[in-house]
Each structure stands twice: as structure tokens, then as C-alpha cells.
């Protein structure tokens, strides 16, 4: 069965390593914070100026001055720190953040990503996404394998305006874990019960399947 959004987040959380600073984008990536493996310590950075982000506040404890990049009210963990936007992006461009997880509308097999604009339709802006993808060494995209119209989001080349070029290393979807390689999307893992054929059918870009593909191990 294909994963839901929480399942995608749970699988990505397995990539976290002790001592990492991590930036989570809006949407599915935010859910990753709910599945930190036991025994490791990570700190979450939000680009609006906080490191050491905690869970949502208890009702009544919300503070208008304390939000994340999705403008949601949050709390902080012991050891947290606040900083201005220039310092925040110094952390990001300066590669002090070890992992960036973000959503996407399209990912191309060369690692290009599009996630900020649909011409003539949605006008939102790139926020911090372009700075993040241009600099981060380790970028994982969290998204559904296909869009609402059922079309593949893993393409040979992006059709929408780009957010960054050749930057995505790994993609985790509701169907699979894939690595971006020079030859195309290399299938690493299948969602529980999902077949290689189903993944092939949902992937418009080149899919590389070598040997037996294991199922994701989710608790």
C-alpha cells in the first residue's frame, strides 16, 4: 500500500543522524520532526530565525512573536537561539545545516527541482527555497509520486520554472525511495506492498532498477 504523508515523513526521519542541524520545509517535511529516531539528537532550523524549534504550544501558550517559516506558532527546546534573517541564510548558504527536506511540484532525473511557481496560475514566491537548494549539500525531496491529476512528478526534465539546478540527491514519495544518479532515478526501496511495476508506471523519467528492490522498513 502506498504511504500517506506521515509515512513519507517517517521514512525520511530514518535518514537523520546524530548531531545534525536540519531545515524542514512547509508541508510533509514538517512532519519529519514527529519521527526522530530514539537515541539521536538533531536540531531544527527555521529560516525565519530560530534554531532548536520545539513542538506546537499548548492551547493558550501561543506567542505571536514566536513562529516558524510556515507562520505557525511554535515553542523552543532548551538551547534554542534566535537570529536575524541574514544570519539565518549565512547558516544555510555557508553549509552549516546538514540536511534540507523540502516539497516539490516536479523533480527531474538530473536533480533539477521546481516548487515555487505555476505560470499564470499561482503566485506565491520562492521564499527561502532557492537559497536552500543552491547551497545545501544534502537535499531530500518529500512529495507524492504523482500530482492531483495523476501525472508523474518525477520527470526527464522539469516543465515548471526551476527553483534550482542539479541539486536534489534523494526523493522519498508515497511509493518509493529514489536516488538521483547520472543515469536517472535509481530505485532504492519500495513502499510496503507497492510493486516495481507500479513505480515504473508512475515515473515519467528514467527509472533504474537493479536486482531485488527491498521494501521500506517502517515500524
Amino acid at each position: 500500500m502506498a504511504l500517506d504523508k506521515n509515512g513519507i515523513a517517517q521514512r525520511i526521519a530514518q535518514e537523520l543522524q546524530d548531531g545534525w542541524y536540519v531545515n524542514l520545509g512547509i508541508g510533509i517535511p514538517t512532519l519529519v520532526a514527529n519521527y526522530i529516531p530514539e537515541g539521536i539528537s538533531v536540531e531544527f532550523q527555521s529560516e525565519n530565525g530560530v534554531l532548536g524549534m520545539g513542538p506546537f504550544p499548548f492551547e493558550g501558550d501561543e506567542d505571536a512573536d514566536l513562529i516558524n517559516a510556515g507562520k505557525q506558532t511554535i515553542t523552543t527546546m532548551p538551547g534554542a537561539v534566535f537570529f536575524d534573517s541574514a544570519t539565518s541564510f549565512a547558516m544555510i548558504r555557508g553549509q552549516h545545516v546538514q540536511l534540507t527536506v523540502l516539497g516539490a511540484m516536479e523533480v527531474a532525473q538530473n536533480g533539477d527541482i521546481a516548487n515555487w511557481k505555476i505560470p499564470g496560475k499561482m503566485v506565491k514566491g520562492m521564499g527561502g527555497a532557492m537559497d536552500l537548494v543552491a547551497s545545501a549539500e544534502n537535499i531530500i525531496v518529500a512529495m507524492m509520486h504523482t500530482n492531483k491529476a495523476g501525472e508523474s512528478k518525477l520527470l526527464e526534465s522539469c516543465t515548471l520554472p526551476l527553483t534550482g539546478v542539479g541539486c536534489v540527491k534523494k526523493v522519498v514519495t508515497n511509493l518509493a525511495v529514489l536516488e538521483v544518479t547520472e543515469q536517472g532515478f535509481k530505485l532504492l526501496e519500495r513502499a510496503p506492498g507497492v510493486t516495481v511495476e507500479e513505480i515504473k508506471a508512475a515515473t515519467a523519467g528514467t527509472l533504474i532498477v537493479e536486482g531485488d528492490i527491498p521494501e521500506m522498513q517502517l515500524d
Binding site: F56, E62, D65, F82, S85, G125, M130, S135
Partner: protein, 233 residues
């Protein structure tokens, strides 16, 4: 001690006129100069270029100046929360320059720090890079971005003193410190204004040298955009 205090918000915005370029601090509705925005709306000046990470919501923040059609151009990184904005942009009534958030912050900082331009990797290979100089450093392409040039910067701080020194609270800091550095005239509104000497110099975020005018805001609504909570156990 140089005294930066002005007696009212009207005095604080003295000298603003049509077609100026303003910087306005804040991230979403967090840390925005509410009192200055209200005064700017009342002033009726138009043709404004506003540099601000976001454009407020329909009935608060910079959304107020959009309602009254006072803004000609917005320079922002993310404007998803404002229907009015989207409508004015798609109709061509409002000119919009969307730029990466880190570039926005750095273009403010550079303006205040006397750095005319800088190279950044953000936006390379995208439409943001169109028409910009590209140069490789350490094998990686970067694009040339220029410092902003703003007539006024409007910022909001938690505490300030009569010398213009500022302390921000939590994530209400965001763009305010860089914009304070960058304005030809920087107007700071604070929740609490104290005599110089009362703030610990070790704790000050923005030195008063960057601030030309300071006042205690009459009222701060501090609206929350996305109230997210968990139930008490």
C-alpha cells in the same frame, strides 16, 4: 547622548512622499511595524515601492496599503497569504519582484554595510538569474546581486532606548536588524521605550547609530497568522 525620540508616529513618518522606496521589517505578520503602516495609510501617499519579505494579509500589515492602492511595486520573497495581492499582481496593477529570501536579507544587509553588490549561488539557473552577471567561484556558478536603496526603513522592536538602541524578541527579529541598517532614515517603533542607560549594552541587537527616529507604539495588535496548538494532556 544623542536623542532619537520623536513624539508621535506622525512625526516619525515626516518627510515621506509619493514614489519613495520603503523597507518594512517582519516575517508574515510577526515583527511588522504596525503603527507606521497605519500612519502611512493615513498619509495617503502613493506610488510606493515596498521591500518586505511578505505583503501582509488582506486586512492587516501591508495588505492595508494594498487595499488603498498606495503600493506600485512590491519586492518580496513570498506572498502566498494575500488574495488581494495575487489579484492585483495577476491584473498587472501591481508590479512585483519576487526574490529568494536569503538574497533579500543580504541585499538589505549589504545596503547598510556599504557593500554595493555580492555574488550568491541562490537562483542560478532559474528565472531569478535572467540578465544577471554569472561568475564561477570554486567551480560553482554564482549570480551578482545588488544592495537595495531605500529612502526609509520601518522596523519594529521589543524594547528600545532614547539613543535608538534596539532589542528584538524571539522570531520577531527576522528582517528588522538588516533593514534598520539600510534605511537612509530608519524609523523604529518599540513596545517599550526606556531612557538610555537602562538597557544592558551586552544585550542590544541593533546599535542606535542605525536608527534615526524611535517611538513607543500606541498599540500592537500582534495578530497571529497560523495559530497552531496541541491540546493539553
Amino acid at each position: 547622548m544623542i536623542n532619537k525620540v520623536v513624539n508621535s508616529v506622525d512625526e516619525a513618518i515626516e518627510g515621506v512622499h509619493d514614489n519613495m522606496t520603503f523597507m518594512l521589517g517582519g516575517f508574515g505578520l510577526c515583527g511588522i511595524p504596525e503603527n507606521s503602516i497605519t500612519a502611512l495609510q493615513k498619509s495617503g501617499i502613493t506610488g510606493l515601492t515596498c521591500i518586505s519579505n511578505n505583503a501582509g494579509v488582506d486586512d492587516f500589515g501591508l495588505g492595508l496599503l494594498l487595499q488603498t492602492r498606495q503600493i506600485k511595486k512590491m519586492i518580496s520573497s513570498y506572498v502566498g497569504e494575500n488574495d488581494l495581492f495575487e489579484k492585483q499582481m495577476l491584473s498587472g496593477e501591481l508590479e512585483v519582484e519576487l526574490i529568494p529570501q536569503g538574497t533579500l536579507a543580504e541585499r538589505c544587509r549589504a545596503a547598510g554595510a556599504g557593500v554595493p553588490a555580492f555574488y550568491t549561488p541562490a537562483g542560478y539557473g532559474t528565472e531569478v538569474a535572467e540578465g544577471k552577471e554569472v561568475r564561477e567561484f570554486n567551480g560553482k556558478p554564482h549570480i551578482l546581486e545588488h544592495a537595495f536603496d531605500a529612502d526609509f526603513a520601518f522596523v519594529k522592536a521589543w524594547k528600545g532606548d532614547t539613543a535608538g538602541n534596539l532589542i528584538f524578541k524571539a522570531t520577531a527579529k527576522n528582517f528588522n536588524p538588516m533593514m534598520a541598517m539600510a534605511g537612509k532614515i530608519t524609523v523604529a517603533e518599540v513596545e517599550e521605550l526606556v531612557p538610555a542607560g537602562e538597557l544592558d549594552p551586552n544585550e542590544i541587537h541593533t546599535p542606535g547609530i542605525f536608527v534615526q527616529r524611535i517611538f513607543q507604539g500606541e498599540k500592537f495588535e500582534k495578530r497571529i497568522e497560523q495559530r497552531t496548538v496541541r491540546p493539553r494532556a
